[in-house]
Amino acid sequence: MQDAERIAAQAVEHHRREPSQLLQILIETQDGIGHLPPASLTRIADLLDLPRSRVEGVAGFYSFLHMEPVGRYRILFSDNIIDRMLGSRGLMESLCRLLEVAPGEVSADGAVSVDTTSCTGMGDQGPAILVNGLAVTRLDEARVERIASLVRAGTPLADWPADYLHVDDNIRRRGALLGEDFVPGAALQAAMARGRQGWLEEVRISGLRGRGGAGFTTAVKWMACRDAPGADKVVVCNADEGEPGTFKDRVLLASQAERIFEGMTLAAWATGARQGLLYLRGEYRYLLKHLRAVLALRRAAGLLGARILGEGGFDFDIDIHLGAGAYVCGEETALLESLEGKRGTPRIRPPFPVTHGYLGRPTVVNNVETLAKTTLIAVQGGAAFAATGTPQSTGTKLLSISGDCAYPGVYEYPFGVTIEHVLEDCGAHDPQVVQVGGASGVTIAGHEFHRRIAFEDVPTAGAFMVFDGRRDPFEMARNFVHFFAHESCGFCTPCRVGTALLKGYMDKLASGKGAKMDLADIEWLDRLLKNASHCGLGSSAPNPVIDTLIKFRPAYERRLVSLDFKPAFDLDAALETARRMTGRDDPAAHLDWREEV
């Protein structure tokens, strides 16, 4: 235990005893110990001069932090519906059988634990797992057997076959962003030549809107931050790509990091910010080394740091913060809380981040793709950027395509492309349903495939999951409901309790005990979540249920056993404990035994 305290103390010192670094400190401490034993939390609290309860509060919030011991190999199966369609459940059973461990538990020798986790962003190359935080893709029975033997032999992860830890970009269609070479610094030079005001004007002309889902006009956000009182402004890149079925930001981080960091620097040029933070979801931790190397290159090239490109008064640098398994942190105010080392609970708005953001300072929070796109605007000009797409949705959009199609991967299209066009390109035969925008998005049925990907028609942060005629829309919706119940931060009543209740109803239907009254309750819960939730997670959590109930109601109705009411509760099963205690299992110890005899 003294070791634990020493490791915790080192992590605190490494982060300059800064309380806002609490999440980073906890991650680093767990890296050293394997989990976060009570003494480590006490030590961290003492050194940071924080109440221990607050440290425990943060440690308990994030899925990838553990206050109880976990296996030396911690294996997490991505549990998105796409991974399931690729066989993840059967592979997990195989691995558990081979390693003699039950899902969710630690093996008797402490060597391994196997569990599920929310979508890891590998839908184009699943089924995927995380092993001690690192992504392993394209699982099949052969890989599972090999992984079991590597675990049994205690082979360090670094010595596993390199192709296991290899992640493909799978870029299938290139537009302006993915198709053109980028010279680091070129966009900055062009923007700086225009002056800060001139650069903002180009962004305004481009009509660029946020690619994270909400579609807020980027120039308006930047101007509001620039005009907010306070000299110490901040630019935050939201790389917490947690929406199930989305992985285009992962590909941008891997292949276009220069553009992303340059986009952040362009935002700093526009707003006068001096500090930049990139919040990287824990699932993409394997990219950390690469991203840090790119930052170092940019510093060496004078593209970050003091006097960028020799311009007096233009000082800006970027730090990377790691997330630790919390979808809600993709919500910008929850992300700011997490950056401050707190629980990722969305804030009350107003005030908005542009005036009161990171540590209360004016802050711009932009999605990875949005920032990368600003480099195009700088180089080509705003009007050229706005020449593609539609008048309300300018430029291109990256789609993460997965599911029942021949060519899953990342596709860049001008906004306005029809869903049927995309389906044809990705080789989808017999598509029945497309889930656009992820679990929180829109369920598109066959008769709507003529609709367009655009803010004014079908908006999306990038997920495009294809389901063919073999799939069951109810099971898709149920998977998403489980996801939201798992990821609810628990702050507000409707989302905390409502998502858990909704999960119960969907499971009741799945187990064949549903009744018409349950559908009425489901629709009532949908409405409460939509109306009363504190943030977008809660209000969009019922979307897949609302949509599938409207468009695929028979998928629900064929699961109903009764038209009025059927309890989820099994009275006879509840007597099992009493039977065991009394050593009885004769017919009279069961309900309805007379009928059975």
């Binding site: 009570p38 924080l50 221990r52 425990e56 440690a59 628990g490 109306n531």
Partner: protein, 234 residues
Amino acid sequence: MGGKFLFDGQPVPFEEGQTILQAARAAGHYIPHLCWHPDFPPHGSCKLCIVKVGGRHVSSCALPARDGMEVESNTPEINGERRALLQMLFVEGNHFCPSCEKSGNCQLQALAYELDMSSARFAHFYPDRPVDASHPDVLLDFNRCIFCELCVRASRDVDHKGVFALTGRGIRKHLVVNAESGRLADTDFAVGDRAADICPVGVILHKRVGFALPIGERKYDEASISTVAMEKGE
């Protein structure tokens, strides 16, 4: 710059910076709430204070009033949603009013009466939440926690002790105390703390006084919660 807004059709004046809930209260209109407290900044977690403004649901405790707003609050629609939120809070924890020492002084119970909640509607979760009786003066019965964080806020911002905090996430969220042992007795909590008297439900209970005043003669036995709130400012 203040102004006036319409609250269920009645004009309500407000001063710059006042929230809908504050201005409505000042004008004599009660809006149900659990996590809001007159002595603390808005928190916005219980959502009992939802109202409709221009067709949109908002938390009236947190949203600043604006001139010309039209606010719907005491309507069958909104009260129906509030009742459902109460039902959620009831099924989420373990609430057995007849045997609870807070009965009659409990805001959750009082609001359930106020809003005509006659059943729990949803399936109960029956969570396993052990009590903490370690402290000589105060018992913690976590079964009744509604996560309003009033104790968290009072202990942090008034008592400057940070005795309470929430950990976990989603439906597994729970209250913890500031000690490695997890026991209240091992914190610097004192019976005179602001946090000791802030719980709107029956989590933080003073020992040895549980039934000094019999059930039936308590605060919300005498008058409804809306009357108590408006007449006594509680």
